[in-house]
Structure formats: C-alpha cells, structure tokens
Amino acid sequence: MSNLCSPVLPSGLVAAFTPTRGARFEQETCGVLSVWDFLQSHFDQIAFSSWQHLSLVLRCLALATVLAVGLAALAYRSRILSSAANTLSANGFTIPAFAPVGIVIAPLGFGVSPAVAIVTFFAVLPILRNAVIGLNGVDQAVVESARGIGMGRGCTFFQVELPLAWPVILGGIRVSAQMVMGIAAVAAYVLGPGLGRFIFSGLSRLEGANSLESVLTGVIGVVLLALILDLALVGLGRLTTPRGIRA
C-alpha cells in the first residue's frame, strides 16, 4: 500500500486551491464555463486524483473481498455466527462515514493507512453480508455429493461452494464499490489520496474563488468513477460466472 500515493500533497495542487484568477464576480457570470475552465486548468491534478481515488477503491475492494469471504467462510456453517455476521453488516451501515476517522487517526496517523482502514471497513460490510447469504444458499445436495465423492472440506469450499456463491458475492462487491466510492472521498480528511480533496477544499473555502467548481469536480468525478467501476464489475461478472450458473 505504500506506493498508493504520498500523503504529501503534490506541489501543483496547493496552487489549485489558491485563487489565481481575479475576483469572484468574474466566476459567477458563467457557471458551466467556469467549471470547464477549472477542469482545463487543473486537468493534471484532477486526472491524478481520480486515478488515486480509483486505485484506493480498487485495492480496498480487493482487500475487503478477501477479508469478507474469509470471515464468511468461518461463519456460514454456524447459524449463530451467520446471524452475527449479518448483524454486523447491517449495523455497520449506520455508522456515519466520518465516525471512524477520529478513531483511526490515533493509531495510524494521517495519509494512506487511515484512508485504507476506513474504506476497507465499509467495503467489507455488503460483501460479508452477501457472502454469508451466498454460501448458505448453495444447494446442500450439491455440497453433499461433493463430500460423497471424496472432496475434502477445503476442496469443496473452493471448487464448489465459492464458485456457486460467486454471483451473489459479486453483487455485494458491486454495492460495496458504489458505496465506498463516496466514502473514499472522506479519505481527504485524513490527507489520504483521491478526489475528496477537491470537495473538502471547495467546501472549506465556500464562496471563495473556484470553490464551487472544486466541489463539483470532486462530486462529479466520484459519480463518474462509480459508474465506470460498476460497468467494469458487470464485465468481470460476465467473465467469472460459469455459463452453467448464469441466469
């Protein structure tokens, strides 16, 4: 994760948030055009931050998938653990995205690690829920026949149960991806990477020059990234779902 990005702001970015082009009334006169101007003049930083945002989300999603499937694998056989996992994933959503910020800053400081911790935590929840449901939903007759022809527990899990639960788990990953795209913006609060810095810097200078443009850039960027990622995940689903279990 260390190569994710440096917590130090790229030198050009500081300039981006400083009013460079005249007074406010100039900007107000042409809203759409000024966003366009802002995009053009800050293209490099926006592209860089978008890439970082996407990269943060992708890596956290991958990590969260491994964690969630691992937890689900431990839990799904037991009814008590299954419902515990469900409770965790249901109640986890009620935690505001900002709440863990304070908690993670203490042990992890600022930068990439707290951002990864926060995003991964939220990313785990929908995947965990779906993984437990998906694994429990696998036809027990199929599992029994796997055991009956001499497949071991691990072999049965990886070759039978996981592939059959995969479409459901992937559904969880898609929900998770949409959700943490937004949550990743919070990463800027702990000086992490991503588009969040445009949003927060704009909000903190509201009414200042380029503030609205900055916020809009961040928000629209996040939405676009979310759409792109969702499309990519649909594609991944097509590629990784065996023809025999496609709906």
Partner: protein, 283 residues
Amino acid sequence: MPETTITEVPDVSGKSILLEGVTKRYPGQKSPAVDGITLEIPAGKIVMLVGPSGCGKTTTLKMINRLIEPTQGRIVLGSEDVTDIDGDELRRRIGYVIQAGGLFPHLTVAANIAIVPKMLGWDKKRIADRVDELFELVSLDPADYRNRFPKELSGGQQQRVGVARALAADPPVLLMDEPFGVVDPITRQRLQDELLRIQDELHKTIVIVTHDFDEAVKLGDWIVVFSDGAHIVQYDTPERILAEPANEFVENFIGSGAGLKQLTLRRVGDVTLADAVIAPLAK
C-alpha cells in the same frame, strides 16, 4: 482392490461390505439413529435398503462411505478395515449417487464426470478416454453432451451423468440414495432398466436406499427391510420377502398385491440361487 483396466472388466469387480455392530448416536437424541447394525453385503450384488422414513436406512448407507461417521462399530470393505482410514480417500474409492445426480451446476457434464479421476491424479488423456467411455456406458452421445451444463439436461439425463460420475474411477462399490426419486415414472423405469444393464456388465456391489418397495423388488438381488433404529426385520431375496414376509411389519410394508409383484420380478439369468447371506438380527 483388484486392478481393473479401462477396457476389460472382470466378472465381479465389486467388493463385499461388512458393517459390524455399527451405531450412530446424535447428541441430544434419546434413541440412536442406527442401533448396532450388523450387515453383510455380498460382492457384486445389488442390495436394497428399504423401510419407513426416519428408520435410519439413509444413515446406514452414509456410514458405509463414512459421510456420516459411526459412533461405534467397524466397517470392512472387502478384506480391509476402513473404519479409521482417511474419509475423503475412502469416498474416492466408493461411487456415490444422490437424487437428481447432485451434479455441480457450474461445471460441464464432462468436467463433472472427470472430478474423481482428476483428484486421483490421472493424466489428461486417460481422463478424456474414460469420460467418453462412461458417456457410452450410460447411453449418452459424448460429442453431443460433453460440453453441456447440467441445467441443459433433462432430469433423467442428469441422473445418468450422476451414475457416470460415480463410476468414473471404477470403484468396486456404488452407493445410491433414492437415486430415481425425482424423475417421472416412465424415465424411472428406463433408468432402472439401464442400471440393471450396467450391472450385468460391471458386477459392482451396489447398495440402494429407496422407499419404493416395487423398485426394491425390481432392482434388488437382496432386500433389507428396516424398522426404526435401522433394526433389520428381514434380509432376504425379493421372492422370499414377497412369499414369506417375516412378520406383519414387512407384510404391511410390501402392501397389497404381493403375488402380483412377484410375477414381475425375476430376471431369467438369476434363477440359480445366490450364496446365502447371514444377517444376524441386530440386538
């Protein structure tokens, strides 16, 4: 295990099975599901386990391949005590078929059949040849069916593939749990006939659980009638069970028309008597 090559099958490739004082007790239940059963199943025969639901016949079947671990007792396969060997390793040597085949929906039919040989580490060529051979054995055209997925097959075809998969590594013993339970009556008859034809060719030891007494009469060389706790009420040939039911319980289980059922059951080749099998009543 007698070495059997792919092309030639010896007269009897099956092995006898002996359950000795086998008990299954589930925690929190007063009476054991299976209460000290002792049962010998002769090599190369079809033995039917019948009885009312909940009598422990399925549990008994699943203890033969230790899918359910017995609480007490010994399981002997041929001359080998398999009570304590690795369960997965044991199950790879015993074919297992469940209702509707239990096929893996995410794998092609050919991949389903190839699973056990693959686990046993056969090379690709040998697996491919074996899969084709099994398709022929269960009357499916390999070229047509190889790359289909289970959902693209009818219930009867799925059941056939289930049998092919169970026979893939040429196991001496085949266990079937209500194998023809969910197919329509006409397909069921056809599958039963086919199983008898396959058995004529292979002479495996086949143990089948069924609740359908007519099926037991049709398929079985021997029939075991269970009452609760898997107590053996009668272990006999179909003719003798029909002609001389051991008691009222068996009589009721056979249902009416025992005489008629008797008419349908004999296969000409089997008229000479099989070796007697001693089945001490469990107590």
